[in-house]
């Protein structure tokens, strides 16, 4: 299919229907950021209602639930998953392993276009009659397809169809990424010389390949229930005085299938973030990563365990106590490799030559956000504590810090870090610092107080809280404060978008390796790398990715492809 031996020439094949992994990565990233912006605006709509109830008539209860659902779904699937695997994975895998491209460039291109279709179908649900579905991002039946839930006619159908299309796209991409890592590594690039970024993305992709089918199955079956009137999940139900034709199905069955996807999904997002942050820290602290092999095994262990833990979400649905105990234990066990990673990051930083660059700030922000949010998670992993706090704002705070904001911080850090390679220009440093501090402090201001609201018993997924005697006045003040912080954080993202657009054309020209990094993507002959990445000769790898500050060398790093006997400069 890919017959020509030259780089493509026309505008269309070069920038639009390109099979070059770097172009596809940019397409994925830009699309994901655009749809993520929609998710952000939706979260602000919710916050306006929660902080200042009754002041904004256009946010009625239905709009609230629609915003909630679409916000959750967009953030988790269409932004985080897509940008980490499709964006970062696409750009970095071939460059970091020393390949000229993905092994199936055509399939790679197809993956992006199918993803775009999924996004468009999702956005279309905002304009169909009844609007998008408002069933909560978990789309639990029966209510997700019953009248009374917003978007129960068209919205839910488009949502499900969009998810199915997304899964097809993710599978096309995923097969490509995994095969590329397995088969296209440069000479000398053994698995234990791979940068942790590649390890994280690799493992996350394997998880995605085998977890998304669960979402696919539950989605198709729910679609059957909705469109064909089957009763896979639907029990006998009287809706609005009318008995419906459903009978005998089990909503619990959906929950099992959904969380068989949902739990690994947490790590599909987390593992690439772990990998990227390891490389950012090591590079910007000029120190080798502490315990590289341990880090790799931790990534593998988390991947395996995360499949096992899926049913810990079933505590509340009342399961066999023996199982409950089993899952509680595995949840705690998964904390072990995760904690190892946090320690290793800290030990990497310890006595490092820390350069507080913008990428480094975001990486440090991630560690802080992740560690603190993770600690509160230990409360939730424990069966006995889980019951009173589940379904309160404690949970909302916990998962936002751990799997919402933390990965986002890594994504920002990654963009600031790799932008010079992608565009050949540096991003503006001052704007970057403002962006970091506003986002970081703002995110704490939003989510930290929510733990407290959770202890007060404030339930999640409520449109209005005015008439609950147990919620004190101070909680309403706190909610107003959180909303203001959320608006500030949202506005701060404009700095980032401006910085991206401005720096791409006007930014200071970057050298080939401005951070002094060791990994292969910084050693390309051209910046940005040309078609085929490496010019005439693909690199040969001689060492691991973390040769920083070696004794007796003039430079404080040795690239992975520098020949062993190279004269000391």
């Amino acid at each position: 299919m890919h017959d020509s031996h030259d780089a493509p020439h026309g505008f269309w094949t070069r920038y639009v229907f390109s099979q070059d992994h770097k172009v596809i990565a940019i397409q994925y990233t830009v699309t994901a950021l655009a749809v993520g912006l929609v998710g952000l605006v939706l979260s602000n709509l919710m916050r306006l209602q929660l902080g200042f109830p009754g002041h904004f008539d256009f946010i009625d209860a239905n709009r609230y639930y629609q915003s909630l659902t679409q916000h959750g779904m967009i953030m988790v699937v269409y932004l985080l998953t897509a940008i980490l695997l499709g964006g970062f994975g696409n750009y970095l895998i071939p460059l970091m392993i020393g390949a000229r491209d993905m092994v199936f460039p055509f399939l790679n291109m197809l993956s992006y276009w199918v993803y775009l279709v999924a996004v468009l179908v999702l956005l279309a649900s905002f304009v169909v009659p009844g609007g998008p579905t408002g069933a909560g991002w978990t789309l639990y039946p029966p209510q997700s397809i019953l009248p009374g839930t917003p978007g129960a006619d068209w919205g839910i159908i488009l949502m499900l169809v969009s998810l199915l299309i997304f899964i097809v796209a993710a599978t096309m991409g995923g097969l490509n990424y995994v095969t590329t890592v397995l088969q296209a590594r440069a000479e000398g690039m053994t698995l234990f010389r791979l940068p942790l970024t590649v390890w994280g993305i690799f493992m996350a992709t394997i998880l995605a390949l085998f977890a998304f089918p669960a979402l696919f199955v539950s989605g198709v079956m729910l679609l059957f229930d909705k469109v064909l009137g089957t009763s896979f999940f639907m029990p006998a139900i009287v809706s609005m005085g009318q008995p419906l034709a459903y009978e005998g199905g089990s909503p619990l069955l959906f929950q099992h299938l959904f969380w068989f996807f949902g739990h690994p999904e947490v790590y599909i997002v987390a593992l690439p973030a772990f990998g990227i942050v390891s490389d950012l820290i090591s590079t910007h602290a000029r120190k080798n990563i502490f315990g590289y092999r341990m880090m790799v095994w931790a990534i593998v262990a988390i991947g395996v365990l995360s499949v096992v833990v899926w049913a810990h979400h079933m505590f509340v649905s009342g399961m066999n106590p023996a199982f409950g105990f089993f899952f509680a234990v595995t949840t705690l066990i998964i904390a072990v490799p995760t904690a190892i990673k946090v320690y290793n990051w800290l030990l990497t930083l310890w006595r490092g030559d820390i350069h507080l660059t913008v990428p480094m700030l975001f990486a440090l922000g991630f560690i802080s956000m992740f560690a603190i949010g993770g600690l509160t998670g230990l409360f939730l992993g424990n069966v006995s504590v889980d019951i009173p706090l589940s379904d309160t704002y404690f949970v909302v705070a916990h998962f936002h810090m751990v799997m919402g904001v933390a990965p986002i911080l890594v994504i920002f850090g990654g963009i600031y870090h790799w932008f010079p390679k992608v565009s050949g220009r540096m991003m503006n440093d001052t704007l970057g610092r403002w962006h970091f501090w506003l986002t970081f402090v703002g995110a704490y201001a939003i989510f930290f107080p929510m733990h407290y609201l959770g202890f007060l018993g404030m339930p999640r997924r409520y449109y209005a809280y005015e008439n609950y005697a147990f919620i004190p006045e101070s909680a309403h003040t706190l909610n107003a404060f959180i909303t203001v912080a959320a608006l500030v954080v949202a506005a701060a993202q404009l700095l980032f978008l401006f910085n991206l657009a401005w720096s791409a054309r006007r930014g200071r020209l970057a050298s080939a390796n401005p951070w002094g990094a060791t990994t292969l993507e910084w050693q390309t002959p051209d910046t940005p790398p040309g078609h085929g990445n490496w010019g005439a000769q693909v690199p040969v790898v001689h060492r691991w990715a973390y040769e920083f500050s070696p004794p007796g060398q003039a430079r404080d790093f040795v690239p992975q492809n520098a020949p062993p006997d190279a004269p000391v400069e």
């Binding site: 031996h5 199936f104 599978t171 097969l175 064909l228 896979f232």
Partner: protein, 189 residues
């Protein structure tokens, strides 16, 4: 720089083989999850076993023949034999016949008024056969694109055998799995 050299080289056969195995793994997980849902749903009170349409025997035979022809075609093509074309053609015909037989089975059920909504067992029948047929259809498209190169035909044959295995699993489950067996497996007997 005229140096794109090995860039445009199509993926090595070994590479493509890894990808096909991976794909089969994903497909397998997809269908096993369906069957897991099938088994869980079957234990609920309203389940009535679906008498499977006899056309499934025809379709099973067609899929086996298609798989065998494709295997033959790939071996013959690798040896440079002349019968590769005929075998490839046969693989197409049998695959199409498989899909036709599945459609026939659907039509028979619909004619009896056993629509997807009649009982969850009917729903699963349409779901499982439908998803599987889509995978076969995708395989046919891939086969059309593959041309007559031996190693590519070998990959298609591998995929075909995988889909055959999945189909046999689906058929066996629909034919023989009963709520009593599920209870037994779950230890609730």
């Amino acid at each position: 720089m005229e140096a794109s050299i090995d860039l445009a080289r199509p993926a090595r056969p070994a590479t493509a083989r890894v990808a096909v195995w991976l794909l089969l793994g994903v497909v397998f997980v997809l269908f096993v999850l369906c069957l897991l849902a099938y088994a869980m749903r079957m234990r609920l009170g309203d389940w009535r076993a679906l008498p499977l349409p006899w056309q499934l025997n025809v379709s099973t035979a067609m899929l086996i023949l298609s798989s065998a022809s494709l295997q033959w075609a790939s071996v013959a093509a690798r040896r440079g034999g002349r019968c590769a074309r005929g075998a490839l053609f046969a693989a197409f015909v049998f695959a199409a016949a498989f899909l036709a037989a599945q459609a026939w089975a659907w039509q028979a059920l619909v004619a009896q008024g056993r629509l997807a909504s009649a009982n969850p067992s009917n729903g699963f029948f349409f779901l499982l056969t439908g998803l599987h047929a889509l995978h076969v259809l995708g395989g046919i498209v891939a086969l059309l694109l593959a041309g007559r190169r031996g190693e590519r035909l070998g990959l298609c044959a591998l995929y075909w055998h995988g889909l055959l295995a999945v189909w046999l699993l689906l058929y066996a489950t629909m034919a023989w799995l009963t709520p009593a067996i599920v209870d037994f497996i779950c230890g609730v007997a």
